[in-house]
Amino acid sequence: MSCTEQNGALCEIAPVGCIPYEKDYEGYWRALRGAIEREEISDRGAVISDLIIDYNPGHYTAWEYRRKWSVQEGLVNEEIQYAAEQVVSNPKNYQVWHHHRRLVEILDKPVDALELTRNSLEEDAKNYHAWSYRQWIVKKFDLFSNEHEFVSKFIDADVRNNSAWNYRYFLIRETKFGPHSHFVEEPSLVQETSYAIRKSRLAPHNESPWNYIRALTRLARMPLVDVVGLVDALRDSNPQATIDNRFAAHLYADILAESDSRADKEAAAKLFQNLRDSDPCRRRYWDHKLSTIQKSISRS
């Protein structure tokens, strides 16, 4: 639509005596308010809402107007395309993602959601909205079959991508332990922990794989020390050099602390002391760990 047509539309909708503004946000909002007050859901209103959203994609009333209009006109499929374009322009905005999701709910079909989230993540591999939307889509429509491969690509690209590790945990929990477990070949826990250990070697000073391993053991109700290869991997990570691998050293110390042997517990205490010395930022946390292990030593 040309500027003139848009202004013509504004002139018709705006209250009598109101001067139409060219590309003026306040004018558009006044016009849309007028339409809403008259309970007018029209193409003209949709044009205005698009103009408002162009300036301000957080304008939730304009978004809701579009939802009503697209449903009334039977244009929900077209509106999903519009929503997808807005997601590309405004990837960190709540309202644009929510708009796409509402339309998917109305149609009760995933439409382009997998492609949309994939494209978004290729631009920004940690986009919070994209990951959580993809989780919702995959769970709602049972689309788990390629997701393991999908998330592995992101971890391969950046082993520190915590969002990807979180998604990987979501997949394991849903497919091995959840209601979708008959859909996918279950990657076993041994495979998953080996995977995490392998990945941890690429960047020992990285929270994500160590948290992942801890979580898997809790899910499987398995003691950490029983995870095949974990203790060796932790030892190889040179836990005394705690500046470079705080998370690995912490996990190693926790495993030693769980042991019945007094010698292991004392080794754990030494590690916590080392961590306290090399990580003064969190010294009170390490004090807490030290006092817990000292109590355990004195009881053993």
């Binding site: 301000n56 939730y60 809701e64 948290n211 930022c281 969190r282």
Partner: protein, 324 residues
């Protein structure tokens, strides 16, 4: 080596808190009504006003802005049919806007101007079958709304008007393998969402249901070598996380598990020479980051600031009136 946004140790001396400049910055923001930037903030204006007033109250200069004018404006955003407040005049009612409205009235000790029954009715209508809360009548669900709803009711002393057990059950479903919380079940742990979930649990005295040590450690790991906090592993520091992380730790009783001095230095470095606090040193300030920077300093007992209650995000003297 770490890629956690390492910074060289700042060699310049850290200046004081330039409170007078922040006051001036907030006053100017308020007075600048007809500007392009203000229109862009339209969809959350009422929250902006709350952040401004809460900042001023922490600095003990609430009278800098005109109380009656603001309270009158707040009621222009009120939708008497639903009982909710919108982010601005003639915008649809929303739960978080309703919370901001109620917080503003609490700050001004004008809660009795509310039609409390109606507002309670609005919030009740936002609770879903599974205990979660929607942000508006169109249904978006997020743990932010659980916190918003529970806090709003708590301020009005009407917490029991919703199904609190179900509300907390939903929040607990959003707990993750690392001890943190996300926006919906399974979503990645994020400091902002954690603040909302820990706040919801604290307000309903349900903190005993989570692993406080595990979450406390995850939160302490948000502190980067520069002293600032990030919101999740391997992301950049931002002043707003000073609030989300620190208030969560305060509610968990683990505020000692971080380096206060380094955080204080970081926040002070984020002050703009023209007033206001920015997300990072040298960036443009805004009222959102100004409030969160001041809030975090208050939690650390920074001198000449009023104490803020982490659960309510309101100063303690306001909370005392509420809890009376």
């Amino acid at each position: 080596m770490s890629t956690e946004g390492d910074h060289e140790e700042e060699s310049k001396a850290v200046g004081p808190l330039t409170a007078a400049l922040h006051r001036e910055h907030i006053k100017q923001l308020y007075e600048k009504k007809e500007s392009f930037e203000m229109y862009m903030l339209e969809h959350r204006k009422i929250s902006g006003v709350y952040w401004a007033l809460a900042s001023l109250q922490i600095m003990d200069c609430l009278d800098d802005l005109p109380k009656e004018e603001i309270v009158e404006w707040v009621f222009k955003t009120y939708d008497k049919d639903s009982g909710g407040f919108g982010a601005n005049e003639q915008l649809d009612p929303q739960l978080l806007s309703t919370l901001s409205a109620v917080q503003i009235l609490a700050i001004y000790n004008e809660l009795d101007r509310l039609d409390i029954e109606k507002v309670v009715e609005y919030i009740k209508s936002m609770q879903n079958e599974d205990g979660s809360f929607s942000g508006d009548q169109w249904g978006e669900v997020d743990t932010r709304f659980s916190y918003g709803a529970l806090l709003c009711l708590k301020i009005m002393n009407r917490l029991e008007d919703v199904d609190v057990d179900k509300a907390i059950d939903y929040v607990l479903r959003c707990r993750n393998f690392d001890g943190g919380f996300g926006c919906i079940p399974g979503a990645e742990s994020h400091a902002g969402q954690i603040f909302c979930c820990v706040g919801a649990l604290a307000l309903t005295k349900s903190l005993d249901r989570i692993d406080v040590d595990l979450l406390g450690w995850w939160l302490s790991e948000r502190q980067l070598p520069c002293g600032g906090f990030n919101g999740r592993p391997d992301k950049k520091e931002d002043v707003c996380y000073s609030w989300w992380v620190l208030s969560s730790m305060a509610m968990l009783g683990k505020i000692d598990w971080i380096d206060r001095e380094k955080l204080t230095e970081f926040i002070l470095q984020c002050q703009s020479p023209d007033g206001g606090i920015a997300d990072r040193p040298g960036d443009i300030p805004d009222v959102f980051h100004t409030f969160f920077g001041l809030g975090a300093l208050s939690l650390m007992d920074f001198p000449d600031l009023k104490r803020i209650d982490p659960k309510y995000a309101l100063v303690t003297e306001v909370v005392e009136l509420i809890e009376m």
